[in-house]
Structure formats: structure tokens, C-alpha cells
């Protein structure tokens, strides 16, 4: 086949695709960014309300109605930071809480460090089996002083999901929060995230707290003592993503009553509801998403009056990937989890019984979260190709650029304005300018890369490949680990 023949054939193919898809693709991009903008507007209204609340704030110290909280910390080979983390969790400002560490068969010194730091003794307690857990429990331990509210459960290694389910079984308080070993919580974080439960104790079943990247901030003894921007661009761009997607998307959704996703780093649930729906589902990647969906489905099926609320106060901080390799793994995992859960709950789509979740939130997630990388890459591949082959004129290409990317930057900047209004966590002007630059840079390479990785995750799921959990190398940035 001659070169001309090849090009000509390619051209016809591209023309055909463009004829069919050019307008829809543009429309798609306009839609996705407009919907984000709608969410931003809703978030703005929500923040106005929050701002009002803050301007008229009365400090709530967690009086009698503050429900007890069990903090569940699954740990696998976390010897570096586990003691500091547990100490910082134990000293959160809250009237009634306990920490439950589930050692998932660590092969390092995780347990030994805990044993030494807290003077653990074995307790002959048999744990309830409310959520069935296959792995064997190897022991239950408490501090010798009989007062420190720490429980350490050792089990055979079988993954984070089983560890969390076992934690739910072992928990003594009515609310459970699922943390990571490297989570850092605001000292008053529990007060914020339990407030909806205290205000509406008969209906609230779950709340979610905002998470922020901790990279760059100064940490001492498990507490953030100075908030600062990450040092390199990759985490800075992720900060922008978090700002936009997590904070605004969820605040907006919370207003619409359609809250689906509670971030993996911090979610607070009523223990009895978690047990009722059967705990976390082993084998799923997007566990927290899946749990929230299951709760929605179950409670709506039963026609129960319930609430799930999002608390936009930054409650939890987490370390975000600093290298492309770890980031890639994370995005593949997230998208795979998204796909699997959306597919598992496809029966909820457009059914009136599921209200806004069914006809608004889920379709949105299908169209604009799941399918997004497909269309993004379509845009990156086809449009330049079309331009090259003379299928479209330069104006089209420019318009495409403007609508797909410029508009996205616009949305992000709106998110920044609202964030500045509501939080102003970063004190320096330099931070603002870095965030602005990061929001532009995001569209030059980062977005495309994550789109590709998300597709990889999706594809892997479709091909039935088992997910391999990468190791998140802890950089151990705490200044005085215990």
C-alpha cells in the first residue's frame, strides 16, 4: 500500500468520525464543564451558608448528645508512623472516642512498636461476628492501664476490606470512621464531622469530611502546625484537583441530596447501618463508594427516612503521590473502582424510588466521570489528526481548545475563588499564584495522562485482571515520629 493510499484512507476515516462526532464532542465538553459550573454555583451557595455559620459561630464542645466514635485504623507494615498516628488519634478533642487498630498480618515491627509504646496486654475477648470475616483473628490487645481507649486486633493477612470489617465488629461506639495509617486529622475534626449526627440523631446515617493534601505542610507529632503548598508541581496540581473535585463536587452534591461518594480518607458512618448492609464488600476496589451506594439502595428500598451529609471543613489530611508511577496506580485503581461500583448498581439508574441519586447523581457519574477519559482522549487524538489531515480548519481546533481546556480552567478558578472566600487556609500570596499556575498546568499533560491511566484501569477491569496494590512509599515527613 502506498503512502498516499494510507493517508487517504486515514483521512476518510477521520472525516467520517468527525462528521459524526465533532458537534457532539464539543457539546459534551461544554456540558461537562457547565455541569461543573452548576456544582460550583451550588457550592457557592453552600459556602455562603457556611460563612454565615462561621460568622455567627458558637463553639460546640460536644455536650451530651455527641455520639461516641470508633476510629478504625487498618495497618499493614506501617511501623514507621503507626505509633505517632495512634497517639495523635487518641488525643483528638472529643468527649468520647476510641481507636481500633487492625494489624492485617504485618510482617514488620508494626505490632511490636505498638506493644511497646502502649504497654499492650492480651485480652481474651471474643469479637462479635456481625460482619462475616474469613481471616482468623490472632489476638486482641489493650493497654495495661485499662483506661487508654485503644484496642489492637491482630489478624491473618487478607486485605484492607476484611481489616475494616473486623474493625467494625470490634468497635464499641455507635459511629465508625475508617482511617488510613497515614491520615492526619484536625484536632477538632471529630467535632465537625459528628455535628450532623448530634443535630439529627434519629436520621443521620453517614457524614463525609473534606480531605486535603498534606504535602509541603509542617507536621509535628501528627499535627499540622503550618499549612503550606507542596514543593513540586505534581502534588500542587493534585491540590487543585482536590479543591475542585472533592470539595466542590461533594458540597454541591450534598445540597442536591445526591451524595454518592465519601472520600476514602475520611468517612463517618453509623455502625449499626454498616452492619445492616453487610459491611464493606471484599474484592471491590472502590470500597467506600460501594458502601455508600449500598446504604443508599438499602435504605431507599426500605423507604426509610435518612440523611447523608458532607462537612466541607477540612477534617483530614493525606499524603498525595509525588511520583508519576504511584499516581498512575492510584488513578487506575480509582477509575476501576468507579466502573465496578457503577456497574454493580446500574439497577438504580432512573428509577423514581431512588430519587435524585437515580436520575441525577448516577447518570452524572456515568457520563461525566466514567466516560470522561474516553472523550478526552478522543479529543486529543482525533482533533490534531483531523487538523493535520485538513479535515477541520484551524478555527475549529482553536475553538475546541478553548472550550475543552479554557473552560475547564475557568471552572477551576471559580473553585479557587470560593475556596479563598471560605477557607483562606494558605496565608501567602505565593500560594495563590502557585495554585493559579497549577490550574493552568493541569491541562497541559497532567489531565491527558490521568485520562489515559483511568482508561487503563477501566480496561484492566473489563479484562478481568486482578488489581495489584502498589506500595505507597511513605516519605515519613513527620518531624518527630515517636
Amino acid at each position: 500500500m502506498s503512502w498516499e493510499g494510507f493517508v487517504s484512507g486515514l483521512r476518510s476515516a477521520v472525516v467520517w468520525v468527525m462528521d459524526a462526532a465533532s458537534v457532539p464532542v464539543l457539546v459534551y465538553f461544554v456540558l461537562i464543564n457547565t455541569s461543573l459550573l452548576v456544582l460550583v454555583v451550588l457550592a457557592y451557595l453552600e459556602f455562603r451558608a457556611q460563612e454565615r455559620r462561621r460568622a455567627t459561630a458558637l463553639s460546640w464542645q460536644g455536650a451530651g448528645l455527641a455520639p461516641g466514635v470508633s476510629l478504625l485504623v487498618p495497618a499493614y507494615n506501617e511501623e514507621a508512623g503507626i505509633v505517632t498516628a495512634v497517639k495523635s488519634f487518641l488525643t483528638l478533642r472529643y468527649p468520647r472516642h476510641e481507636v481500633v487498630v487492625i494489624d492485617d498480618g504485618s510482617t514488620d515491627q508494626t505490632f511490636a512498636r505498638l506493644e511497646e509504646a502502649f504497654d499492650l496486654v492480651p485480652l481474651p475477648r471474643e469479637l462479635p461476628q456481625e460482619i462475616p470475616v474469613r481471616a482468623r483473628v490472632l489476638g486482641v490487645f489493650v493497654p495495661r492501664d485499662g483506661r487508654t481507649r485503644l484496642l489492637v486486633v491482630r489478624k491473618e493477612n487478607s486485605g484492607k476490606t476484611e481489616a475494616l470489617n473486623l474493625g467494625v465488629n470490634a468497635a464499641n461506639e455507635p459511629l465508625v470512621a475508617m482511617l488510613d495509617g497515614d491520615s492526619i486529622l484536625e484536632p477538632d475534626g471529630l467535632l465537625h464531622v459528628t455535628r450532623p449526627f448530634a443535630d439529627d440523631p434519629t436520621r443521620m446515617v453517614a457524614t463525609g469530611g473534606a480531605i486535603r493534601p498534606v504535602n509541603g505542610s509542617r507536621v509535628v507529632s501528627g499535627r499540622i502546625v503550618r499549612v503550606d503548598m507542596p514543593q513540586t508541581w505534581l502534588p500542587r496540581i493534585q491540590l487543585v484537583e482536590y479543591l475542585r473535585a472533592f470539595l466542590l463536587g461533594r458540597t454541591g452534591w450534598s445540597r442536591l441530596g445526591g451524595l454518592i461518594l465519601i472520600s476514602g480518607a475520611f468517612g463517618l458512618f453509623r455502625r449499626d447501618v454498616v452492619v445492616e448492609v453487610g459491611g464493606l464488600e471484599p474484592g471491590t476496589i472502590g470500597e467506600d463508594f460501594e458502601l455508600v451506594m449500598r446504604i443508599h439502595k438499602r435504605l431507599r428500598d426500605e423507604g426509610r427516612d435518612y440523611r447523608i451529609e458532607f462537612v466541607p471543613e477540612p477534617v483530614s489530611w493525606t499524603e498525595v503521590p509525588v511520583t508519576a508511577k504511584v499516581l498512575r496506580n492510584q488513578r487506575r485503581r480509582w477509575h476501576r473502582g468507579l466502573w465496578e461500583t457503577l456497574w454493580a448498581y446500574r439497577s438504580m439508574l432512573f428509577r423514581p424510588r431512588y430519587g435524585r441519586i437515580g436520575w441525577l447523581a448516577l447518570p452524572y457519574y456515568w457520563l461525566f466521570e466514567l466516560a470522561a477519559p474516553l472523550l478526552e482522549l478522543f479529543g486529543i487524538v482525533i482533533v490534531p489528526l483531523a487538523l493535520l489531515l485538513g479535515v477541520v480548519n484551524v478555527s475549529f481546533a482553536v475553538l475546541f481548545l478553548v472550550l475543552a481546556y479554557g473552560y475547564a480552567v475557568l471552572v477551576t478558578l471559580s473553585a479557587m475563588v470560593v475556596d479563598e472566600w471560605a477557607f483562606h487556609k494558605h496565608d501567602r500570596w505565593r500560594a495563590i499564584s502557585q495554585t493559579i499556575v497549577a490550574s493552568v498546568l493541569e491541562n497541559i499533560g497532567y489531565r491527558q495522562a490521568t485520562a489515559w491511566w483511568r482508561l487503563e484501569g477501566w480496561w484492566a477491569s473489563l479484562r478481568g485482571r486482578r488489581h495489584v496494590w502498589g506500595v505507597m512509599t511513605r516519605t515519613g515527613f513527620d518531624e518527630d515520629p515517636a
Binding site: 465533532s22 460546640w60 496486654v121 481474651p124 471474643e126 448530634a198 439529627d200 440523631p201 479554557g406 473552560y407
Partner: protein
């Protein structure tokens, strides 16, 4: 060939880029405004700050500092009053009384009463707080009306103020405000407010136990336990038996555990039965232990062999606290994990006491 008109492209580009620039400017503006305002307030306050600190610290022996504060006028007065309100949440005693006097002299308390009907939510809420901090007892009727405000911040502030003033006549309205449709008073605020009121709220609590709204009943039950409202026991028992809401029933169980006497063992024991929800069974078991009457021993002993290990352990812990009869009941199950576990926990706590 797909052709897009030049005008459309230019238009779209200008619109988007223009909006971006606008937003960047907006970010800068919001931040700058905040910083300017802070600096301005600081400047206005600075000559008044030393006398304010002197009065607040209770070191104004000759009264000159108070005099300076009282004479403040204009914008300085506004900023000063705001700072005084802030301080009043943190200090009490003679300095607080003096500062309230300054607010009254400035007409701030009078203005607050008027501002309760302002159009701005923030103003209404702040006004309520001022009235509470100034202990303006004669504004209680106004504050009670504000419990029904459309904004939750105002409702919370009104309840807070009523709690500070402490007039028991407001207890009834506060409790019933919990169940208002659409404009309910958050349960946590109501509970805190009622806690800080004097003794005379027993009748209000009884009424609350019969309220139509489960949240109200729950708060009433909770407070009955906290405030030793023993005359409410018949109602608490009734709710434990019949209430439709499990959370309410659990709260009643806890309250009965705190308040109850020997005759209450029966109702608690009844609800540890197999057909009850697990969380209620556990709550009742704990309550039996808290009740402290040996009449509970047979019921608790029966729970030692329950399939739920936590229930068994709770029963064992409860028995440990019920004297010789309780300990005797444990002997037969001495090797069970539940009993061994309860014993170990108890001994650890004793050892470090």
C-alpha cells in the same frame, strides 16, 4: 471539511479568557479586601485596646479605662463593641459585668433587640448572641420568637442566648422547637441550652417525652437521665416499651439505668430478650449494670451464654459490679472468654486507679 466561523471562535475565546482573567482578579480582590478590613479594624481598635485589656483583666482600679471605653464613638465604637462581645464569651466576673455596662452605655444591647428583626441573617444571629452575653433577661420573649427563625444560625444563637440567660420559662419553647417541621432547632443546641437552665424544667421534660417528634422525645429522655428527673420514670418505661424509634428507646434505657430503682430491673431485663434489636439489647444490658440492683443478676446471668460475644461481655462487666451475688453468677462461666475478658479489664482498671 468542518468549518467554524471565525467570529464564533473569537467570541468564545474572548468570553472564556476574559472570564478567567476576571476570576483571577476576583481571587486577588477577595483576599485583599479581607486583609484591608483586618488592618482597618486593628487600626481603629488600637487606641482602645490597652484600656480594654485593662478592664478585661480586672486591673482597672481607678475606673479610667472603663471611662475611656464608654466614651468611644463612631466606627471605633462598632469595632470595640464587636471585640467586647467576643471577650464576653471568654471571661466572667466583675470585668465581664463592667464590659456589659459599656455595651449598654453604647446602646448596643438596645440595638441588638431591634436587630433581631433585621433582614440580614448574620445580624440577627449576632444580635441574639449579644443579648445572651449581656444577660438581657427582658428580651426573653423576643428570643423565644427567634427560635422559629428561618435561618438555623439564628435559631442556634437564640437558643444559646436563652441558655445563658437561664430563664426556665423558655425551656418549653426550646424543647418543642426541636420538632418544628422545616425549621427544627438542632438537637445538640437544644440539649446544651436546657442543660444550663435551672431546676424548674421537669414538667417541660415530661411534656417532651410525649412529644410527637422522635428527636424531641430523644432529647427529653437524654436530659431526664442527665438531670435526675426521677418523676419521669413511668414515661421513660413506657417509651422503652413502645416507642417506634430505636434511638429513642436506647436513650430511655440509658436514662433508666441512671435514674432507676429496683422496680426498673424488670423493664430493662425484658428488652434484653432475643427478639429485640441488638443495639437495644446492649443498651439495656449496660443500663442494668448501671442501675446497680442485684435483682438484675438472673437476667444478666442468662445473657452470659448469648451468641453475641459483646452482649455476653457487657453482661459479665455488669455482674462484676453487682456485689457477691453478681460475682457468684460468674463462677459457673469462669472460663468463657466474655467473663475472662470482663475480669481482666476490671482488674487492669483497678490496678492503675
Amino acid at each position: 471539511m468542518v468549518v467554524i466561523g471565525g467570529a464564533l471562535v473569537v467570541g468564545a475565546t474572548v468570553a472564556v479568557l476574559g472570564a478567567c482573567v476576571l476570576l483571577v482578579l476576583l481571587v486577588v480582590a477577595v483576599r485583599a479586601r479581607r486583609q484591608l478590613r483586618q488592618r482597618r479594624d486593628e487600626m481603629l481598635l488600637s487606641p482602645l485596646r490597652p484600656p480594654l485589656i485593662t478592664v478585661a483583666a480586672g486591673e482597672d482600679d481607678d475606673g479610667t479605662a472603663v471611662h475611656t471605653l464608654r466614651r468611644a464613638a463612631g466606627d471605633s465604637r462598632t469595632v470595640l463593641d464587636r471585640n467586647i462581645v467576643g471577650l464576653l464569651t471568654k471571661i466572667r466576673g466583675v470585668p465581664a459585668e463592667q464590659l456589659v455596662g459599656v455595651l449598654e452605655k453604647h446602646g448596643a444591647v438596645h440595638a441588638a433587640a431591634r436587630e433581631l428583626t433585621s433582614r440580614s441573617t448574620v445580624r440577627r444571629a449576632r444580635a441574639a448572641q449579644v443579648l445572651g452575653l449581656a444577660r438581657a433577661g427582658d428580651t426573653v420573649p423576643l428570643l423565644v420568637r427567634a427560635l422559629d427563625d428561618e435561618a438555623v444560625e439564628v435559631r442556634n444563637s437564640a437558643a444559646y442566648a436563652l441558655g445563658l440567660i437561664g430563664d426556665a420559662a423558655a425551656a418549653g419553647p426550646v424543647l418543642s422547637a426541636i420538632g418544628h417541621p422545616e425549621r427544627g432547632l438542632p438537637a445538640a443546641t437544644a440539649a446544651e441550652t436546657l442543660q444550663s437552665m435551672g431546676v424548674g424544667i421537669s414538667e417541660v421534660l415530661r411534656a417532651g417525652l410525649h412529644d410527637a417528634h422522635p428527636r424531641t422525645r430523644m432529647v427529653a429522655a437524654h436530659l431526664s437521665g442527665e438531670r435526675s428527673f426521677t418523676r419521669g420514670l413511668p414515661d421513660l418505661r413506657h417509651l422503652l416499651d413502645h416507642d417506634a424509634d430505636v434511638t429513642v428507646r436506647e436513650t430511655c434505657a440509658a436514662a433508666i439505668g441512671r435514674l432507676g430503682r429496683a422496680e426498673d430491673v424488670e423493664v430493662l431485663a425484658r428488652h434484653t430478650g432475643q427478639d429485640e434489636p441488638l443495639s437495644l439489647r446492649r443498651a439495656c444490658t449496660t443500663a442494668l449494670g448501671e442501675l446497680g440492683d442485684p435483682a438484675a443478676v438472673p437476667a444478666l446471668a442468662g445473657l452470659l451464654v448469648d451468641p453475641d460475644p459483646r452482649l455476653a461481655e457487657l453482661a459479665a462487666t455488669a455482674l462484676l459490679g453487682l456485689g457477691p451475688r453478681g460475682r457468684e453468677a460468674l463462677v459457673a462461666h469462669a472460663d468463657d472468654p466474655a467473663v475472662r475478658s470482663a475480669r481482666l479489664m476490671a482488674s487492669l482498671q483497678r490496678a492503675s486507679a
